[in-house]
Structure formats: C-alpha cells, structure tokens
Symmetry: D2
Subunit: 290 residues, 4 copies
Amino acid sequence: MQIGMIGLGKMGGNMAERLRRGGHEVVGYDRDPDVSDVGSLKELVDRLEAPRAVWVMVPAGEPTRATIASLGDALSAGDIVIDGGNSHYVDDQKHGKELAEKGVKFVDVGVSGGVWGLQNGYALMAGGLPEDIAHLKPIFDTLKPEGEDGFVHAGSIGAGHFAKMVHNGIEYGMMQAFAEGWELLEATDIVTDVPGAFKSWRHGTVIRSWLLDLLTRALDEDPGLEDLKGYAQDSGEGRWTVQAAVDHAVPLPVITAALYARFASRQEDSPAMKMVAALRNQFGGHAVTA
Amino acid sequence: MQIGMIGLGKMGGNMAERLRRGGHEVVGYDRDPDVSDVGSLKELVDRLEAPRAVWVMVPAGEPTRATIASLGDALSAGDIVIDGGNSHYVDDQKHGKELAEKGVKFVDVGVSGGVWGLQNGYALMAGGLPEDIAHLKPIFDTLKPEGEDGFVHAGSIGAGHFAKMVHNGIEYGMMQAFAEGWELLEATDIVTDVPGAFKSWRHGTVIRSWLLDLLTRALDEDPGLEDLKGYAQDSGEGRWTVQAAVDHAVPLPVITAALYARFASRQEDSPAMKMVAALRNQFGGHAVTA
Amino acid sequence: MQIGMIGLGKMGGNMAERLRRGGHEVVGYDRDPDVSDVGSLKELVDRLEAPRAVWVMVPAGEPTRATIASLGDALSAGDIVIDGGNSHYVDDQKHGKELAEKGVKFVDVGVSGGVWGLQNGYALMAGGLPEDIAHLKPIFDTLKPEGEDGFVHAGSIGAGHFAKMVHNGIEYGMMQAFAEGWELLEATDIVTDVPGAFKSWRHGTVIRSWLLDLLTRALDEDPGLEDLKGYAQDSGEGRWTVQAAVDHAVPLPVITAALYARFASRQEDSPAMKMVAALRNQFGGHAVTA
Amino acid sequence: MQIGMIGLGKMGGNMAERLRRGGHEVVGYDRDPDVSDVGSLKELVDRLEAPRAVWVMVPAGEPTRATIASLGDALSAGDIVIDGGNSHYVDDQKHGKELAEKGVKFVDVGVSGGVWGLQNGYALMAGGLPEDIAHLKPIFDTLKPEGEDGFVHAGSIGAGHFAKMVHNGIEYGMMQAFAEGWELLEATDIVTDVPGAFKSWRHGTVIRSWLLDLLTRALDEDPGLEDLKGYAQDSGEGRWTVQAAVDHAVPLPVITAALYARFASRQEDSPAMKMVAALRNQFGGHAVTA
C-alpha cells in the first residue's frame, strides 16, 4: 500500500527501505533535502491518495509534537497518523485526542530493532482502534520480522509505546544483570577466562539470549573492554518506566537500580558520597580523600 | 571412556543417560538400590579401571563433603574426582586441597541445563588443572550441547562453580527484570493484551531470550498466572553471588534486589514494614492496619 | 498580625490555635460549620483587612487547586496566599503564576511537625519572594519551634514544598533503615533483648534521633509489634521525590528502595514473584506453591 | 575496679582515660612503649590481681585473634576477657569457645562513640553470660553515657557485636538517606539555600538527629562540600550486616544500597557500566565515550 514517511534518519530511512523492498510505495519527507522525496510536508500530503497513512519517525518530544500538529492541519478526516518514534505514552493520548477533533485517526507504534532492523525486521507494538490497526496490517506485516511473532496490537492509544517502554525497562534490567556478572567475574582471581565463560553460556543455559550474543561479540573485539569508559546514556524509556511504576505503585527495584546505575555512570564525582565522606569525617575523624 | 557417576537423581541420572548414548561406559552409584548399578561406593571404585574418573552429582553441602571424603579414602593416587553439583566455590578449594594430599586430582564443574539437558546438552563450566581438564574432554564433549559453545575451562579449582554461581546471579536479575515488566504491564489499563506483548517480543527485539520463550509458554498455560502464588525459593547460588560481591567490594544492585525480592516473597508479613507502620503511627497518628 | 486560615482539620486547627496563643488574630474557615469562624470563603475575605494574608491548609491536589482558584477570584491585588499543605512543588509554580496575573502574591510553605506541632512548634520551609517572606515573618516566628532553627526561606516559589518533599524522602530512607535493622535483630537467636538494644542506642551513638526515640516508644507499647500488620501507606512526597530524582538524573537508591518497600507492603501477593515462580517452574521443574 | 586495657590507640586510650577519671585502676598495654604502662602482655597479666579482667581494644581480625590467643595462654581460670573492638560476631563465638576450654570467661562489647566518647560516654552493647556482665557492671557504668540508656546486655556471646553491627548498618542507611537528599536539593535550581534547609530541620521535624547536626556542621565548614571527594570507605560492619542478612534470608534493600554506594564511590570507573556501554554500542550503534 501507499504510505508517507516523515523522518528519514537511521531508523526511518531503513524502515522506508524495508517497506519498499516489500512492495509498498513510500513517499518520504525529511528536513534534509538530499534524502527527501518531497520539498515540504504539504507536498507529501498532496502526493498521497486519501485516505492517507502517514508514519511519523522523528525524535520524541517537541519534534514529534510539532509534526503531529502540522499533520493535524494538513490532513483530512479519515486520514491516519502513525507515531513510530519513541514517544511517551502520555503524549500519545494527547495527540490522539487532538487529531480526533479533526477526524484524523491515530495509532502509536513502539518499534524495536535498532541497526539490525532493516535486515531482520522490526518488532512492533501497536496501540489504537482495531479497525485502524487492521487497515495498516500490510505495512506492519512487511516491517516485522518473519514468523508468527514480532507484532502485537497491545491495546488502546498509548499501549504501543507503553509496551515498548516496558520492553526497554526490561532491557535495562537485563543489561545491568549481565554487566554486574561481568564485573564480579573480572574481580576474582580464580576465573581466568572470563570471555570464555560468557561464550560458553550461549548454548544450553538459562540466560542464553541475544544480549549474551552481543556481549560475547563485544568481548571478542575488546576482551577487557579497556577501550571503553563506564559511561551510559539513557534514552528516556527507562525514566518513563520508573515514573509509570511510581504512578501505578508498582515496585521495580531491578529496573530502577539499572536506571540509577546509568545516572551514576555519568557523574564525574558523586555528590551524595561527598556527604557520606563528610559525615564519616564529622563523627569518626575518618580520613577524607580531598 | 569409562566414568563413575555418584548420584543418579534428576540431574545425575539424565547425565549418565546422555553419556551412555554418547558411547561412554558409566558405572552409577546411588543410595537408591533400584537405580544403582553397584551396591556400594567401594564396589563402584572396584569396578573402575585406574586411573579412575568419578563424577559426583549429589546435593551441595554435607552430602557432597561426605562423598568426597569417602572417595578420598577409597580412590588411589592418580584418580580424579569431578564435583558437578551446585557446590560453593569456597568448598571446592578445600576439597581440592584434601584430595591433593592423597594424590587424587580434583575438577569442579558447574552444570546448567535443568530438565532440558538430556535432550539439548548441559552447559559446563570447569575449574582445575589444564591436564586434568584435557583428560576429561571426551566426557565434557558428550555432555555439552552441540556446536562450539557450551563448555569453558574457566580457571583454577573453584572457577567452574564460581562461573556457574555468577551465571545464576545473572539469571536472578534477568528473571526479576521480566517479572517487574510483567507486573507493570498488568497494572495499566491501556495495555489489554499482555501475553501478546511478550509473545511479540520473541523476535526482532533486544530482549529475545530463552527466558522470554519460557515466559510466553507460562502465559500460554495460565495468561494471568492466577494459579500461582508469588513465592520463590532461592537455591543458594544467588546468596553466594551476593556474598562474593561483598567480599570483593563489587556493587551488585540488580542481582541483590532480585535475591531480596525472593526473600520477601516468602514472608507471610514483612517485619520491617511493621516497624515502618509503627513509626508512622508514632509521629503522625497515621492509621495503622492491625 | 491578622491572618485567615482555610482548613481547620488536625493540622490547620492546631496551627490556628498556636497562632492565637502567640497573639495573632486568626479568622478560620472550614467546610465544617462547627469549627468555622465564618460561613463562607467570601465572608473570610470580607473579615480580613487589606493587604490580606490567607493561609491555605487543605488536602493537596484538587482541594488546594480549587481553594486557590477561589481565592484568586475573591482576593485583591496586594493580598497574599500561603499554601501550607502538602502540595507538589510543580503545582506551586502554576498557582504562583495564576495568582500573579491578578496581582495576588504567593508563598509556599512545607510544614513538618504532625501531632506534636501544637506543643513543640512546626518546622517551616518557605518558597517565594524575599519581601513576601519578610512580611509574613511574625506568623512564621510563632509557628516554628523555639530556638534558632526550624525555619528556612529555601528559595523561589516551590522551594518550600521541594525542601519538604526531600525532607520526607530522607524520612522514608531513615525509617526503612531502622526497620531493616529491627528485622535483622529479630531474625537472629543470639540477640535476646532487641528492644533493649534500640533503647541503649538513644545516647552516645551515631544513630540517636527522634525516630529512634519513637521506635523505642513503639517497642515499649508492643515489644514484638505483634499487633501490627506490615502495611504502610505513602503520602505522596516519597513518590514526588523519586520522580524529581528521575527528572534530575539523580540516583536515589535508598529513598527509592524505601518507597518500593511500601508499595510491596500493600500487595496481597506479588505479581512479579508469580512470574519468577512461573519461570522457575518452566526451566527447572521447581515446585511451585499454588 | 581494676582492669587491664590492651590497645591504647584513639579508642582504647580515650576509654582508659574515661575509666581512670571514673576512679578505676587501669593498667594499659600497647605495642608503642611511649603510651604503654607495661613492657609486655605478660607483665600486664602479672600486674593484675585475680580474677583478672582484661579489655582488648585492638583492630578486628588477626590482631584481635592473636591477642586473645595470647591471653588464653597467659590468663588463669576465672579471669575474664572483654573484646571491645569491632570484631565479627562469628569470631566472638569461636573466641568464647577457645577461652572456655581454659576456664577463661569471655564477653563481647560493641562500642559506639568515636571521637566524642571520652567526653559524652560510649554506647555499649554487650554479649555474654549474665554473671559475667554483672561482674563488669562498674566498668560499663563508667564508660557509658550518663542517663538510663547507653548500655544493653543484648544476649549471649556475640550479641554485643551483632547489635553493634546492626547499629552500623542502620547508620549506613541513614547517612545515605541524608546524602541522597542533599544531592537532590543541590540538583534543583529552585532551592537556593540548601544548608539553610538542613539547618531548619534540626528542630520540629521527623528527621532531627545527631547525624543531621553533624551534617549542618559539615555544611557550615564547607557549604558545597567542594573540598571533598565522593569517596567513602567501609569499615566492615556494613559488609557483615549484608552477609548476616543473606544468611538469615532477611531483605535489606536500603542498607545494602548504602553499602554498594560506598563500593562504587571507590571505583575510578565502573566495570559494569563499561559493559552496559558496550552492549548499547552493539545493539544500537549508540555513541560510546572512550
């Protein structure tokens, strides 16, 4: 089917390519004229036949908000907007309401796959009305990995990004679990082949997983990770997961610990631990490292 | 090759079977005469040709200690004992020293695989001298899963169980990460197809893993896990992992949180939270649930 | 000086009483006519001389929002509203802006003291413009405990409630630290006089504190806390503290753990631990408690 | 009464001084001849009248073990040894058994007070037989702070150090709670008088405590703690608390998080976070800080 794609960066560009390979007609728009098929969002809308489907794949937050607002103006009743970016589920619910006032439909899709998606397919989690999801099925079928899994209609508007958010929260916890295990193995003198231990776990163990495959690949390239700094960004979904947990009174000790470890990794020095050092000095005359 | 196997329970029995299918001669001994090939440990030793190899597969702690002590008496210099149970790496180092005084060699092997091992093979992590490991290679090759992975000579005596211990610690963290994600998805009204979300993640996502496969299988059988109680045992390795972390001054927030969640799951009521309730009552006159 | 007080419940009523004892003229308004000095908010405003000062002491959230909106309509430019409830600092900033459009000034005050405040004074943390804080000084001086401490002008609008929020976050962490210590002491057979241990700590130790005093009082009344359930509410500030931490990328492992312990204390059964039990059952055939 | 004191460092020396001021006869022995009253441990024993009481105040671990072994040789049946150092409760039980074989009695005492103890008294937690505790009461009465609290006979041998260990675990949690609160207050622009906020909390709040007093003193000396590094040692009791928790299956999330924060504070870079960075790079092509 025909679809507009706004945002042709690393993710959006590869998704457009996968859709084209799958036989769909993709009209792409990007601020960068070198990769854009059209000169403006208006031209994109004009090039599509009603009822139009426009997939938004731009950075979450203000860029997505602005794009959806523009689409609300440019599209017609019966058209459909898909937000495939990393939006907060709370924003989806606002966007859905705004577009609905103009008769424009809205579906949110959480997309997983990263740089491997073009080749292997993108795992898709969608939120919206059943009829809107059904209408977009050909698109989803092409984007998702082969096989029976890789797509879910998770619930109402926001459910796609909520599910994706939780997926990423789980990812944080799993990555930290592997990372802690690696640190402990490196800390003991008894174990001398740490990369070998991880490699051995790739088959027949409870923890075999794609992350373990990636981990062994990373250790192949740099067995002691000596070229890396212990510095990790967080992309937003981890924070939203913790905030959703607090909102729903759900205890998430592991996922939160993983998020906090990232926060701490970005600090030159820990303010809290300065205070602990100060207190130890006050009550015990303990030596302080200045 | 020829090997003695002590302990023919769920694990040892299946491992003996896999070895036999692989062409090895296994002489098994178990306290249960119905499954034992010999009437006593002495008879087992007599049935094996020197230099003997005896694989111990009995419960960790006192049973393993007692078995290894008996073997130290019954075996001859040049024989080799393999502890494939869930022993603490600290115990391995003691056992290795005791056996060495009698000229008996010792190798420790952490074994992963559970009920799936007979069919898929057992992931093996071994600790000991290179020549002892090399001698046992035919056994390891048969027990381990097919392919290049599934076995590691991790280091000196104790390294096998240390690596297995860390594997299980990582497993605790991963399981808890999935469990927390499930609880949060269940807690929101937006997501209506929680099992579908997990199922969709099996392909094309960062968190695809054997645990995720098991999780979707569990949700297939009981979509809301309504037949289960939130009660989880811990098998020892999780505790040892945290103790090793404390000994090595390695922070393990995620793995420890997962262990503590299991401790808490087994409490009828939380003593600590009684005290929190008592304090709230003291300072704020907050209502207390009695 | 003269002040209006809206909300004459446990907190507001006692604060009005302390102000009267301190020589101030308090005109109180409450929905309950039995305790109210006036019949309506309008009558309250009429009874006060301009520039008026009105202290709002009603539940946080909608009641506070509605009260401040009504005051915005009823008051005149130059009047001042003080929010002494448990409002979120984010709301303060909105309220300040709304009132400022009408020329009405706004100060937020975090109040600590609970049931002991009437007698011992209330610790006050204020946010707002220096001139507004200065104008209200006689009120603050009467409400606060005797001595040099007990009051701070913490910063701009919202700073009072931000500081109070952090105070409560610290309180969560301290309470949980004591509670965990108590649980561990109760768990060992070696220590036979647990209440005595806590009592002994009241003097000469690093952890002597008002919470420790309250704790020993609680143990005096019920040495094993056998009449209590391990069930603890959270009053909002703990959640806001964690959310502020996530917003500011500040790791708060202890305060968050204390909040999560409260969430968990209110669950009949832990959904996450059902999933852990399910996974253990899937991979290990571990017995499951149903 | 008469008492021998072994170890006249910062703690032991001040305790000897407090005992002398209280009218006791103290014979002190230290490896440093400048502060020692006698030339050898043997001379110390000779100078005391039977039944002797000897207080050991040397570093925990090997020094304490060696000192107690020597005393076991030098003392006579009916004499009593008091270990007032920071020993592990597990060691107390061994020491008590060893001494009992020679008829020598043993009492363990956890001592809190630090540099303030000489002036304010030392909080004492004792473990041992009731008659041995009773015999030493004059000593305890002099060492402890004035008033009814500051001393407890907590239970059997080891109970004193167990209680002290838990005291320190609670201390870790409280310090970290304050430290986290400080970091969050420093992180927001709204609060401009952070030291003032802490100071205001010293009266009328739930968190008033000696640690808060020390904290405000530290901020008086260095309002932003700019002269300090966020580096904190741990003195052993925190680790033992977590190990005891693991042994007793008691979840201690707050105390453990505080311990782990200290471990992390001493790392130049976090190995675990190197692995997280490596994984992020593998699956997402995320930029890595090298």
